[in-house]
């Protein structure tokens, strides 16, 4: 961080998840000098490989909106994600579900590209019998075939024997570790030969849907017909299913973010945000004050302890600086506003932290800090009482449990943060 105050705006981004990365990227593009604090976020590592615009159950049946060019640009630079501009992808999950996704990890098989509309004849999708945790090819094939989207297209999923040379102990490897094994050329070669033999045994097969970790094939080393997201009719596209927390998609996304960000200044420090002095922010890192920043982007996620190791009282310090944020909300009711009047640690009555029973919308409701306004686009820029403090991603949540929204808010926050220089310098 070399720029001197008054010439280049200094932006501190707290949090190194998707929102933080987007904010840092955006602030830098708008001419700011960016310092990044914290470590890769928990939410990012939980990425399943799908990128939704709205939480997916809310977007079902809606025509896809066009994505902001800046957002597409960000993902292009990050690499590894496919963002169809005018359609949704359909991805299979390891829970036996077919679901829409606005965009997806390039390793995940997009079924919509395979069978775009009912009425086309599409060959069966091969599901290899592989000894991986939670992977029961036969029952998954039955489950996917019974989904309405598949029935409408007469798309069948067929379990096939496939000897990928897995040892029994391989079943115990985490997905991400398993994925890295395919970097070995010998393994990769055997892998591809196995796919080819499956293809030969089921004439007319249209694709192969493999367990998480099987799609991690370097696009350069794979033959054309086997490349992820490859060629619909001519070849045999192979891709992964969407898997839950701990899958390779989260690891891939985290790795991509780490590559794209400047190295962190502090990874596990206590970082209380103190009220601005003279319109500028001083952070405390390892007991020492930093040089003042013109603006701060708070992108520490709905899981406040996820991006940063915060002391027990620190969430209170942060929250009390943002008087218009509310406590975690559960269906139907506000639990009550957290205001600066609350001193000390915030102890929410845990009785209120209960998932509603039999409420459609409430099953797994977000518990992030809920913003008073419902609009997903609203940023702290307009709403916080403190000028220069911006909030992005799930920390500004209530809505944002999706990667695309986290990025969109991050881009917006980074832009505003970078543009605040003049005001900050004047008052400083």
């Amino acid at each position: 961080v070399t720029a001197s105050a008054g010439t280049t705006p200094r932006v501190a981004v707290l949090g190194r998840g998707l929102a933080g990365a987007a904010a840092a990227w955006s602030a830098a593009r708008h001419g700011a000098s960016v310092a990044s604090f914290g470590q890769a976020g928990l939410a990012t590592q939980l990425s399943s490989g799908a990128l939704d615009w709205l939480p997916w159950e809310r977007q079902r049946g809606r025509p896809p909106v066009s994505l902001p060019p800046e957002l597409i640009h960000f993902f292009d630079e990050l690499g590894g994600y496919l963002l169809p501009t005018d359609a949704s992808a359909i991805v299979a999950t390891s829970s036996g579900v077919l679901r829409e996704a606005r965009a997806h990890d390039a390793h995940v098989l997009d079924l919509a590209a395979l069978a775009p509309a009912p009425g086309l004849t599409v060959g069966p999708v091969l599901v290899p019998r592989v000894n991986r945790p939670g992977w029961d090819a036969d029952s998954l094939a039955v489950s996917w075939s019974a989904e309405r989207w598949a029935l409408a297209r007469k798309l069948e999923f067929v379990a096939v024997d496939a000897d990928f040379g897995l040892l029994q102990s391989d079943a115990l490897l985490p997905d991400a570790d398993w994925a890295s094994r395919l970097r070995d050329p010998g393994r990769l070669q055997h892998h591809l030969a196995t796919v080819a033999s499956c293809r030969a045994r089921v004439p007319g097969a249209s694709a192969m849907l493999a367990p998480a970790g099987f799609g991690l094939i370097s696009a350069d080393s794979a033959p054309e017909w086997a490349r992820p997201g490859g060629e619909g009719g001519r070849g045999l596209p192979i891709g992964e299913v969407l898997s839950g927390p701990g899958g390779p998609a989260g690891a891939r996304l985290s790795a991509a973010l780490t590559r794209s960000l400047p190295p962190p200044i502090a990874s596990a420090a206590r970082l209380p945000v103190v009220p601005p002095v003279g319109g500028r922010f001083v952070l405390e890192v390892d007991g020492r004050d930093t040089e003042p920043f013109d603006s701060v982007v708070l992108a520490v996620g709905g899981v406040l302890s996820g991006g940063l190791e915060l002391a027990r009282t620190d969430p209170a310090a942060i929250l009390s600086a943002i008087p218009r944020f509310h406590a975690p909300s559960f269906p139907g009711a506000w639990i009550g506003a957290l205001s600066p009047a609350h001193e000390g640690a915030i102890e929410l009555p845990p009785d209120d932290l209960r998932w509603g029973r039999d409420l459609r919308t409430s099953w797994l409701e977000a518990v992030g800090i809920l913003h008073a306004t419902e609009s997903p686009q609203v940023l702290a820029a307009r709403d916080t009482a403190i000028q220069g403090l911006f909030v992005a991603g799930d920390a500004a949540a209530g809505h944002s449990r999706t990667a695309l929204l986290a990025v969109a808010t991050g881009l917006e926050a980074g832009k505003h943060a970078a543009q605040r220089r003049a005001a900050g310098s004047r008052s400083g």
Binding site: E57, N131, A146, L166, L304, P328, P350, W355, L364, V367
Partner: protein
Amino acid sequence: VNASSQGPTVASPPDHPTERATAAWGGTGADVDVVILGGGVNGAGVARDCALRGLRVALFERNDFAFGASGNSSGMIHGGPRYLTYDPSVTLSSCLDSGYIQDIAPHLLFRIPFLFPVAKSRIGRPMLELMDGFFEAYDRYQPLKRGKPHARLDADELRRLEPGLIGEMVGGMAFDEWGIDGPRLVMANIVDAIEHGANVQTHTTVEKIEREPSSDLQIVTSRDLLTGKATRTRCRVVVNATGAWAPLAATLAGLPQKAAPIRGGKGIHIVYDRRISNFAVVAQTVDGRQIFIYPWENTTVLGTTDDDYYGDLDNVNATADEVRYLEQAIAHMLPGIRDARAITTYAGVRPTLYAWGKNEDKLSREHEVLDHRVDGAAGIFSMVGGKLASYRIFAKEATDAVMTFLGRNEPCSTHRLPLPGGETRLDALSLATKLSIDAVSARRLVYRHGGRADSIFSHRTAASAHRPRPASAPNGRVVCACEPVLEAEVRHVVRHELARTVADVSRRTRLGLGACGGMRCALTCGRIVAEETGAPPIVGRAQAIRFLSTQAGRRAVALGPIQARQEALALASLRSEVGLDPSDDGSHS
């Protein structure tokens, strides 16, 4: 008269007294001799006892086996030390029965050594002397249940045994009790009853009990809550073994609730993600009650409360204030509890004997068999009160009453004949080697199924014949990695232990009760249940989501705000994979 004898009957063994009895009524053809309401430990115990004594038995359980108090207790087969001071005969019979249960189900019992620290105070010393004398008296009963004599410990010894203990202590006691997995005890009784001809139905509620006008028979109308199908069963005796539901069940026969009075006492437990003590440790609550913490498998269990309960019995949940009450009490002695993560809570309602004007803790844990002849309903009996440890003797007393009513006199043999799995011993390590499965899985299998653990795998092949399994998936495919539970066992409990939902499987196998709360296994389990029951995949998925939803609700009351946020994020991530609400029909374009 002859026509009615062609009605539905269950074939009884030839030259069996039942046939003579049936003939004596003029051929009015009861379907069974006795209908039992309730699949808790008492209902299961009566079903087994009746079946072993040659009666034709039907049992209807409204939810699932061990759904209420039986499956949500501390799981102690104790010797009843609390009765020692005022009714030593109860202690004697408790210890005797604990010994019997060890004989018939040796695989299910495990020793729980207790530590009872005494804090330094004005009365600390005399207290220790009193306790020493008390446990010396209890020691005389311990051999009946293969218990070890107590030991008096000084403060240093206590700290050496249990380094996590804090505070000034004058010393304490070590004594010995036995623990058991409540649902497995119920299942063992149920399986034995089935093997002796009982017709057992879960998720089946009884809607009405009527006296047939022209005979002494009772007509029990029941309804399968999953399929909606109703059934009428004609029987001679009805046993209401519904625990805390007893007053409600009595009304089905037109009796007033107070004919089977219960004072339901709610008790909750909290389960933590790690073992924080070596022994069970007794602690005192803010209001002077005794609670305890004990290590169980990979976890720690803390319990329990005792509060009058008037809510919905089908839906009993721990609340956050109950959690705090227990945690604060144990944290005085074992502050390590604050660092452990609560992974679930569970709650049940004790069917305590009714009494007015007493504190919950002072209510009798005794039991009674009520003959509703006094209420004008001959042939209907209610079992009220009781505790897990006394189930066998309670079942014997109820079965004796049934036998007397039916004019029969076969003796009870439930203290002699082993429960399923208790017939033979099986070594877990050799099972693991033989089947090439994980040793921990094998040990859990042997714990739950005893000598029958290997038979779980023999069922597997036949039904999978239509569905070739990959050669790479041996017997030991793990469904639930936390506990760990094998696919073979999941299929076994659906086929042979009447599991019909994911929650049923969980109750029988502990699937989904580990650290991750079922997040990685509930859906797989749902697929297997759907496949085994011939239901479409969406049904299994909906069951899994209901299970996860219930588990999330049980965890939520024990989480602090920060952990709650992490939890919600994990659940939201799971939802992105699963993608539907419990009420969703799964339709999307």
